[in-house]
Amino acid sequence: MKSRLIAAAAAAALAVGCAGTGTGQGTESASASQPKASNARPRYTPPEDPYPSTYRAYPGVPTAIVGATVFDGEGGRIENGTVVLLDGRVQAIGGPDTPIPDGATRIDGAGRWVTPGVIDVHSHLGNYPSPGVDAHSDGNEATNPVRPEVWAEHSVWPQDPGFSRALANGGVTTLQILPGSANLFGGRGVTLRNVPARTMQGMRFPGAPRGLKIACGENPKRVYGNRNTMPATRMGNIAVMRATWQRAIEYRERRARDPNTPRDFQLETLVGALDGDILVHNHCYRADEMAIMLDMAEEFGFRISTFHHAVEAYKIPDLLRARGACAAMWADWWGFKMESYDAINENIPFVHNAGACAIMHSDDSNGIQRLNQEAAKALADGRRAGVEIADEVAWRWLAINPATALGIEEETGSLRVGKRADVVLWNGNPFSVYTRPQQVWIDGALLYDMNNPRLRPVSDFELGQPGEGDVK
């Protein structure tokens, strides 16, 4: 089995390597310095993207949703709006006079809302799937606080029934699966299309950058401190992180000088983060710790895309804004641990109002089914505290902001013409508790329809079990 995989990887390397030598780290100069032998086998070049996406858009039909209230995901709103989906892309968005292609299926959106699909930057569907038995506990490689060499995608079980709930009840079309936070460096995250598939690769978002999960605070120091190993304190957390980033910088220099430097999969991930190819997602609750992490990013020259579980972001929105880091937050989770003790319901609107990038995230197989409701609560609490944010602007928390945090904002996250047609038609105002997705399209393919039981995905796990195919 192992040798077959290596052979396959080598074959893929040949194909990908040819196209991508321009970005290889010094491979051209290295080969130039070596004596050429006409019969020598081509030097092995690792593929830039092993385990590549095999996702292809599912078939769709030209579709026009007319007469709906449209939130475009970037803060725009259209009443009596029209959204046209064609060839998997948003072909048009506008008012009632928007041209509709001949033969397009017209869907009456009167009294309904259209939004871009919900994007969750923080999910453990697939690596902490249902049922949550030990055999499925694949989110934390808690064997060393520094594990950047593990990739969450290698833990994702595509048959997790949670994916379908997020689609049908939550209108989630894209989500990032992250490793857990037991480790300081938890490993790489992967961004998925929320489609049923036989393989993880069948869900991988084509071209989406990978993430790097790092963690501050209580979890790493508790996990390793309990084993009497470093880190056992917050200062230990920082010390191990700094030493590790320094190793990565030295590795990058060594590789640049000598391409034959043996590959180090730990440090390769970190070099990807230093180079900006891998986006840093930092589990960090407390304001003071976020401030330290922002300085650490400057010290070593990486950028923090997003602080996750940023319960105290409201205390430092000025810092977040100045450094361009997003804060991914819950509406009202609090008090489950010390570092979540200072949560306030107005966290997201306060961060948004200060001009920083605010994101609603779930970290939860139930919460991911109601991110629209979570946003609604935060929005209302903000308004009661005097922060007026329009509904359509608040939808950014679920759309363009998380898309930007994941580096896929050119592809999805709003209803711009030419973007992927990831669209939810809601059966009412999506900020109402009484509203649910009526239909959900991913790349223009209708993959959920509340009126059509055949468009209700059932995972392999659920087949032959009580409740198979039931409404959920």
């Binding site: 249902s130 049922p131 949550g132 038995v133 029934p161 949670g162 709930r165 009840n169 209580e218 409201y314 205390k315 430092i316 929105p317 000025d318 009202d332 989770w333 609090w334 008090g335 489950f336 641990k337 010390m338 003790y341 200072d342 949560a343 306030i344 319901n345 107005e346 306060f350 200060a354 197989s365 139930n366 089914q369 109601r370 409701q373 609604a376 609560k377 929005l379 209302a380 609490d381 009661r384 505290a385 005097g386 059966n427 900020f431 109402s432 508790v433 009484y434 509203t435 649910r436 509340m450 009126n451 039981p453 796990f461 659920e462 079990q465 009580p466 409740g467 039931d470 409404v471 959920k472």
Partner: protein, 461 residues
Amino acid sequence: MRRLGILLAGIAALASAPLLAQTIAITGGRVVVGDGTPAIEGGTVVIRDGRVVAAGANVAVPAGAQVVDARGKWVTPGVVAGFSRIGLVEVDAVGETNDISANGSPFSAAIDVAPAVNPQASSIAVSRAAGVTRAVVSPGTGRSIFAGQGAVIDLAGDMEPITRARAFQFIEFGEAGSDDAGGSRASAHVLLRNALREARDLRLPVGSRPASPAPAGGGALPEDRAENPYLMSGAQRSDDVLLTRFDAAALVPVLQGRQLLLVHVERASDILQTLALKQEFPNLRLVLVGATEGWRVADRIAAARVPVIANALVDLPATFEQLAATQSNVGRLHAAGVRVAIGMINDDEARQVRLSTQYAGNLVGIARLPGHQGLSWDDAFAAISSAPAEVLGLGNEIGSLRAGRRGDVVIWDGDPLELSSGVEAVWIDGVRQDLTNRQTRLRDRYRDAQEGALPNAYDPR
């Protein structure tokens, strides 16, 4: 506020009674009685001496009443959290503050949460500000399927939280019960049967009578005699027993049907096995807790006339005992004639009972979807007010605005089940409540995160 607390502490014995003989009339609001009846536009709610006197359309405002204008608002009974662990925890992961379970205790069924409830827990004030006025508080299991005796509490800002102590016994009887019983459901069943028989076999000391007055000059502690004479040291037992005397004595009221037995089961077959206990122990007053797969045997639950406290929105096969999970469970049970209340079972139950309104609202929402079964708005609100009260046998005391109920009233700025709505005022036992808490204080401190001439720590208080 603090003076109020001291005053309350001073009259602890009367704490469940209101402080002041005050009459309050809340007028002009959309009044939800909470018993499943439709809302009343422009209704009036009158509270006197801590109790609801009247609620409805043609209610006169008594002379001298303090009038609260609720025009454009909604007026409801306070939310009753149908299953929770509120007041037993400050921070979950800080073990010193967590009194849910006692893994090292020699006792099980005898455990009584009432003295552990902390009325000053942050979660009490946070939940009160969200309109929750009463809660069912259950201990969690330690080394036995018996968790002990839970209470019904109020969430007022005083030092006397207990509405009814020892309102029920809670047991784990599914996957968790199997674990507690040493590794199998079969073991849990034999543990339960043995324990109830040990309770049955307790004998009072010769010559004593249940509930007889304490003899002058001492003897048994008064609460033992008044509530449970089987605790007296002279009570006789066989040598062949597993339970401590305290634990066995605590199960006597369960066996006799004087105390509810709340049983946490999820799987359909576990539900049926629980219902079957009534054949063996006919006086048991059972309540099913959880019952994720209840819809599959809804007719059997209805026929047994056993009420259910269920999670509202569980729809994942999170465990193998919840394979048939669906958000339509509550609606299907209700439609089958089962009395269902919404609770929070293993769902942030120590801190997030304020989600009850959102959960109930979701059940109204799914009622519009093909194939789903939800609840009407009126039934959904009842599922977080009168239904949990009735399930706990307190329907005459709390959970609705019917005359004679305790004066637990909430004014909302909109539909209480809607996400955009907020709480404007709360009364508990007729006493107007403070709605500030740590979260609102932090909010106010950081409304402008920029620090001024001095750090935020010097903000005016």
